[in-house]
Amino acid sequence: MDLVLTEEQQLLQATVREFVTGRSSLKRIRQLRDADDPTGFSPELWAEMARLGWLGIVLPVEHDGLGLGYLDLLVVMEELGRGLMPEPMLSTVLLGANAILLGGSAAQRAAHLPAVAAGERLLTVAWQESRSRHAPTHVETHARPAGGGWTLAGEKIQVLDAHSAQFLVVSARTRGEARDREGVTLFLVPRDAAGLRVERQQRLDARSVGLVTLDGVRVGPDAVLGEADAGAALLARVLDRATVGLVAEMLGGMTAAFEMTLDYLKSRQQFGVPIGSFQALKHRAAKLYVELQLARSAAMAAARAVDEGRDDKTIARVASIAKARCSDTFMLIGYEGVQMHGGIGMTDEHDIGFFLKRARVAEMTFGDATWHRDRVARLDGY
């Protein structure tokens, strides 16, 4: 029930922070952006993270994971978020591995999860389409039965780390109309399958995403993840857990941006005094701090709801509250961060802009604040 970190979690936090500040830097993030490499992250760091056990942090021990909880994961994600680390935690660990853990057969789990924990398998989930906006149940990509297996056709947009993933979990319609909740099936598709094409998309945070085209991609019956036609509920469970991980990353990003801004308020001199002595700026900084405290509480409450094994509806509700709150707060801190930095905040040379860009992308990932508020209202029956 506690909303404070245990001693073990504080130790973990110190370890991850040391790793992030020692092995990464915003300079590295800038270099990755400028390198124009579709991989978009460092395979060496990823291998180190695997050795440290972080990739299997929430995976059960039987699949070579650490069997820890989402509060432990939050600690890791927050620190990675502080450093804007682009290593594929969201795509592989939170989306792909969760899809297999929650929906996969024993064989599918055994084939993929230990490999994920070892850092040898990269996964992602391809669910978003050009007309789906934030609704995961809007699926136009379709799968038709063919020779005991299926043939998939359609297009998925902004698929996280699609270039590097070895397998993609693809949502496709096996029955019904585009917006029906029933009739969606999840398929586990190798990236090198014939007819599957990944085209690089450039987003403003420079992380790797791809446009995935499926043109008659044939898969066997064993490619189905979970039950046919019942993939929407599974996808929702996966996205809710991924959202809990994302808000932790966002929490780290907004905290770092806030601290960067606070340092600037104390060091930047105008009219012969630090600008942080001006009440107009003090009050804005204090308000940001309060909003940040609420965001932290929400992110922790969401992680705790998963750890306490709450029912899916409760987890969905709390995840949505946390996502709406963290989206709004990260954006606010991004905007205020640039404003309070003044002219230098508008330059590419300064790092604060990286946080605003990440805030915008993260705000929109897995649904923006308005979408999540509407979801909370629906879940609460109004």
């Binding site: 029930m1 506690d2 909303l3 404070v4 606070l262 308020l265 104390k266 005094v273 630090p274 942080g276 002595s277 009440q279 003090k282 009050h283 900084a285 204090a286 308000k287 701090y289 309060v290 405290q293 609420l294 965001a295 932290r296 509480s297 929400a298 922790m300 409450a301 509250i321 709406a324 709150r325 308005t370 508020r373 509407d374 909370v376 209202a377 629906r378 609460d380 029956g381 109004y382």
Partner: protein
């Protein structure tokens, strides 16, 4: 642990046997609570509930038994609170005696003052009010000018206090006065206890924009207060006053929470806006409802986190400012939204065409505008956060 569980069983049995059924009904507003005092008139059940609880010292569960308190450990007091919560029992007594001056006296008061006042607070015999603000000393409280001049065994008080909550209903006042006019402004203040029936005390209610008069002006003209009534030392009152302000801020946030039933906004939205396909018809107002409810949830989580932190032994910071600031701003948004939801039905002042709850909500909305002013304005809270948490320079 076994002891605690038997204490729980015993407590539950006793509460079930002794609490009047009407004490389990939800509160409509803070005036439904028992504030005690010589002037208060309360329904028979309220008085009976106070008497049985006070007899055990359970109106002040953790205070020492020798002064009439319950003498419970923190864990036992938590059990008592939990069991009362399960039965939805309202507190038997509330007020500034229990929440503010009592704890301060136990910490800082002389033995004589403790004996004189603590048992009366526990029993609800004396209702207390707070004499802090003055016409010229609002946000800048330390500039207060009410004068106390020593004359043998008494201080002679002259001046004016304002925004005295329930000054017309209170029996005693804890009051800040200036005893040294030469010292720097924070240094010459003394914390005194004053009987409101002393000659020279005049109280006049202040009518607010909401039509109600929960505050008073208190005029002091040659009021004689014995020197034994100084809490702590003379000229050391500012330290005590600041300690109490933290209590007040936390209390303001708590009072709002008790009042607001979490489903209330949704129910109002349904009633006034209607439903289409099972959803509140106006999407924009519906989103505002969700926003307020979510922010309340996040604030509640933050309060819980702050309590967990305190339990884990972390020193409490200036958190009361965070909660005072955010809790009051949020309450204003909630009240504002309620009037928006009511539409034209939210415009009534009195008379036909409006329901009683509508009239009350409209006045509550006006009253809520004071939330961000009383107990330290929002701007003062933000100053405190900027300085003490963020370390921003003066």
């Amino acid at each position: 642990m076994a002891d605690l569980e038997s204490f729980r069983d015993e407590t539950r049995r006793w509460l079930t046997a002794n609490a009047p059924a009407s004490m389990r009904e939800p509160l409509r507003n803070p005036d439904d609570l028992c504030w005690g005092g010589r002037k208060g008139k309360y329904p028979a059940d309220v008085t009976r509930w106070l008497d049985v609880m006070a007899e055990r010292g359970w109106t002040a569960p953790t205070w020492p038994r020798e002064y009439g308190g319950g003498g419970l450990s923190k864990q036992e007091a938590k059990v008592l609170a939990e069991e009362m919560g399960k039965l939805r029992l309202r507190p038997a007594l509330t007020g500034f005696g229990l929440s503010m001056i009592g704890p301060l006296l136990l910490q800082e008061g002389s033995e004589e003052l403790k004996r004189a006042h603590i048992p009366a607070i526990v029993q609800g015999q004396i209702r207390w009010c707070q004499g802090y603000s003055e016409p010229g000393a609002g946000s800048d409280l330390a500039s207060l000018q009410t004068k106390a001049v020593r004359d043998g065994d008494v201080f002679v008080l002259n001046g004016q206090k304002v925004w005295t909550s329930y000054g017309d209903k209170a029996d005693w006042m804890f009051i800040l006065v200036r005893t040294d006019f030469e010292a720097p402004k924070h240094g010459g203040i003394t914390f005194l206890l004053m009987d409101m029936e002393s000659p020279g005390v005049t109280v006049r209610p202040i009518k607010l924009i909401s039509g109600s008069s929960p505050f008073c002006e208190t005029f002091l003209s040659d009021v004689r207060v014995p020197v034994q009534n100084v809490v702590g030392r003379a000229n050391d009152g500012w330290r005590l006053a600041k300690a109490l302000l933290g209590h007040e801020r936390t209390m303001i946030a708590d009072v709002f929470k008790e009042r607001d039933d979490s489903r209330r906004l949704v129910e109002m939205a349904r009633r006034y806006l209607g439903e289409t396909d099972g959803r509140v018809s106006d999407a924009r107002l519906r989103d505002r409802v969700t926003q307020v409810e979510m922010d309340q949830q996040c604030l509640d989580w933050t309060l819980a986190r702050s309590r967990d932190n305190a339990k884990a032994g972390h020193r409490p910071g200036p958190e009361s400012s965070i909660f005072k600031y955010y809790g009051t701003e949020l309450n204003q948004r909630r009240r504002d939204l309620m009037v928006s939801l009511m539409g034209p039905q939210g415009l009534g002042w009195e008379g036909p065409g409006f329901r009683e709850d509508e009239l009350r909500l409209t006045r509550d909305w006006l009253r809520s505008r004071g939330n961000t002013i009383e107990g330290g304005t929002s701007e003062v809270q933000l100053n405190i956060i900027a300085k003490r948490v963020l370390g921003l320079p003066d």
